[in-house]
């Protein structure tokens, strides 16, 4: 998000999901789309099969989409910036860039040119393992198609170089003029049903709703007036990973967690539980007794999504109304009511009758949501922001005619290696992710019978050559060890994974892979890297 905000002026998907149908070329990097975003993957598959769209997949693993791809670039883990710079190198050398777009709509082009000049196909092949013919072919497909889309997910952002990776994607799109038109742009896929909305609403340490900065006195004044207070804090707060570190140090004494399970979802899990145990007060509000709730001093039982009304914003910025289907389960309360009660009891009364009244307030203080009112949502399939007034139809694709920040800003980045690379002691790279049958920490999906039948336990996916070397077969138990922890997992031999790389998921708290992962942080976006070096031995 930080990377796209810096280059384009807005951190969200530039296009709507329906526009995927008419793209001519897809460049999918760091997204296992069929598993994580199945309904978006099916659009890509349809466009490739029925409309002969070209598909380039850049992923170390032979993911399902790669089997359908025009071209699969198996670049090495963490070598994304080098690969993207290599593509730009070829494009500039061949004269495939969009000179008019660069001149009229962007700035800082010269420094980019200087940096990518150093990424010759030979050097890129050395860093990434992608040969120069494939690099050239990929550059040609992406640059020459009229409507090209870059699609990425956590495979791009969860690196110490995550912001660099995102900026490099943005650079590539601007270089070829592939942004600001229908079915043409840069599309980060968000992993949770309301991760876009939680960001939009200012559940972030540096902004109020609508990405309005807490350090801007004029903005603070607007919120002070609406909220009837006069001393809002003018300094950005701590990010999640910083909060955990501060709790470990004893600087954070109370943590109120609502609908999250950091003990399982966060890297270096033992560090997380150690930090949470030091708190004077841990409040956890959830629908199930999660691993995090087990550590809490107070657990507050919340109503589920079906038991309340409210709006969610999907990955394409579409704000939709979800209606109440059943009464809250006996003993539970909707999250918004719990918050209002606590706020009132600490001396800041909140007296909303319903989420509709809260949405009214959001409309008043959030310019991009000003026209997304309850009465309009009630009779529609939703509205995509920015939607500045009640007559505005919403915005399907961003940056038409000009970027949200005015000119698009090229920001040339250099390749840096991952925080932890394999060595003699820990010779494998561990990648973590999800499978299509489970979701995140499994709090919900592990209680669904058919999903448990299909994907009942954690496995370690491994290439057959590595398996042979380690003398293990499908189902053998191995000890996987990193500098932070050790876990015993059954082996699953897979042909789609390269040698010296292993894959596992974080759905299973009884085998919490995040006890092994690393919390090395991207310095800008503060996103942890997760993937790390491990050793594997037979037990």
């Amino acid at each position: 998000m930080a990377g796209l905000a810096a280059t384009f002026g807005s951190g969200a998907m530039t296009n709507s999901i329906q526009e995927f149908d008419d793209a001519e070329a897809f460049f999918v990097i760091g997204s296992n789309t069929t598993e994580q975003h199945p309904m978006i993957a099916s659009r890509i598959i349809q466009a490739v099969r029925q409309k002969e769209a070209k598909l380039i997949v850049a992923d170390p693993r032979e993911i399902k989409l790669a089997k359908l791809a025009t071209l699969h670039l198996k670049h090495k883990m963490g070598s994304d910036v080098a690969l993207l710079n290599g593509l730009m190198h070829v494009i500039l050398k061949e004269g495939w860039e969009d000179k008019e777009f660069i001149k009229d709509r962007t700035e800082n082009f010269e420094p980019l040119k200087a940096v990518v000049a150093k990424y010759t196909p030979e050097r890129v092949a050395e860093i990434t393992g992608v040969d120069k013919d494939s690099l050239r072919k990929a550059s040609e497909i992406y640059a020459k198609a009229k409507r090209s889309m870059i699609i990425y997910a956590m495979g791009i952002t969860q690196h110490v170089a995550g912001t660099d990776n995102v900026k490099s994607c943005a650079n590539l799109a601007m270089l070829t003029g592939h942004v600001g038109y229908p079915s043409t742009g840069v599309n980060p896929l968000r992993g949770q049903n309301n991760v876009q909305g939680a960001c939009d609403m200012g559940a972030l340490p540096n902004v109020y709703s609508g990405y309005q900065s807490v350090t801007d006195p004029k903005i603070r004044e607007v919120f002070e007036k609406e909220w009837g207070v006069n001393d809002l804090n003018d300094k950005a707060g701590l990010t999640l990973t910083e909060m955990i570190d501060a709790a470990e140090r004893g600087d954070i004494k109370a943590l109120y967690v609502m609908g999250e399970n950091p003990v399982v979802s966060d890297p270096d899990a033992r560090h997380v539980s150690r930090a949470l145990r030091k708190l004077d007060l841990l409040v956890v509000q959830d629908i199930f007794l999660t691993e995090t709730a087990r550590l809490a001093h107070v657990v507050l039982p919340a109503a589920s999504f079906a038991e309340k009304m409210g709006t969610f914003t999907n990955t394409e910025r579409r704000v939709q109304l979800s209606r109440q289907a059943i009464a809250p389960l006996g003993g539970t309360l909707p999250d918004w009511k719990i918050i209002c009660e606590i706020s009132s009891r600490v001396g800041y009364p909140m007296n909303y009758d319903s989420p509709i009244e809260i949405l009214d307030e959001i409309n008043r203080v959030t310019p991009s949501y000003a026209g997304i009112t309850y009465s309009r949502l009630k009779g529609s399939w939703g509205l995509s922001w920015p939607c500045p007034n009640e007559d505005h139809p919403g915005t399907l694709f961003l940056h038409k005619d000009q970027f949200a920040r005015g000119l698009g800003a090229f920001d040339a980045r250099e390749y840096i290696p991952p925080a932890e690379v394999p060595d003699e002691e820990y010779p494998f790279t561990l990648i973590t992710g999800r499978v299509g049958f489970q979701f995140h920490t499994g709090t919900m999906t592990r209680k669904i019978s058919i999903l448990e039948r299909e994907a009942p336990n954690a496995v370690l996916e491994m290439n057959s050559k590595d398996a042979r070397r380690l003398r293990v077969i499908d189902g053998s138990i191995v000890a996987v060890e990193s500098r932070r922890g050790e876990l015993h997992l059954p082996v699953q031999i897979k042909q789609d994974i390269p040698e010296s790389v292993v894959f596992s998921t974080f759905h299973y708290s009884e085998k919490n892979i995040n006890e092994l992962t690393i919390c090395a942080i991207d310095p800008v976006a503060k996103i942890p890297e997760f993937s790390c070096a491990v050793s594997i031995r037979r037990v």
């Binding site: 099916s42 609403m201 609502m258 199930f288 079906a306 409210g310 059943i326 999250d335 307030e361």
Partner: protein
């Protein structure tokens, strides 16, 4: 039996479907044919999204840790304890000692009031959620 249009609780695609209710319980899912994202289809998770709602493991009462023991409590007791402790920690260590973790699973309205509470009631910007994970 009634059918209510809801947004799927899982990934970011934003599919909608009709949640089927029978005698106060969620019992099934019907895709929405006209919905611009789902267009009448759903993934394997969406089709079964009703199943976890009425599971017996759902939390039904606030709980409080008393020494080493965790016991059920009334809402009034839980509200009272949380608000008293938050106030006393703020008084003793300042608002910087408080932190709030919101959720990518909750509604916009809930995220908004949660961040409003952190900022207006406790005067801290220590609020985040798992967008980075």
């Amino acid at each position: 039996m009634s059918q209510t249009l809801v947004v799927c609780p899982f990934c970011g695609c934003g599919c909608s479907f009709y949640l089927e209710e029978k005698e106060g319980r969620a019992v099934g899912v019907t895709p929405s044919r006209e919905h611009p994202v789902s267009q009448g289809s759903l993934c394997v998770k969406g089709w079964r999204a009703y199943e976890f709602i009425n599971r017996p493991e759902r939390l039904k009462s606030p709980m409080i840790r008393d020494g080493g023991i965790v016991r059920d409590a009334t809402w009034d007791e839980a509200f009272d304890l949380v608000s008293r402790k938050l106030i006393s920690i703020k008084k003793e260590y300042g608002s910087g000692a408080l932190a709030f973790l919101s959720s990518a699973k909750l509604t916009n309205e809930e995220n908004y009031v949660f961040m409003k509470m952190a900022r207006a009631a406790f005067k801290t910007n220590n609020i985040d959620h798992c967008a980075r994970l």
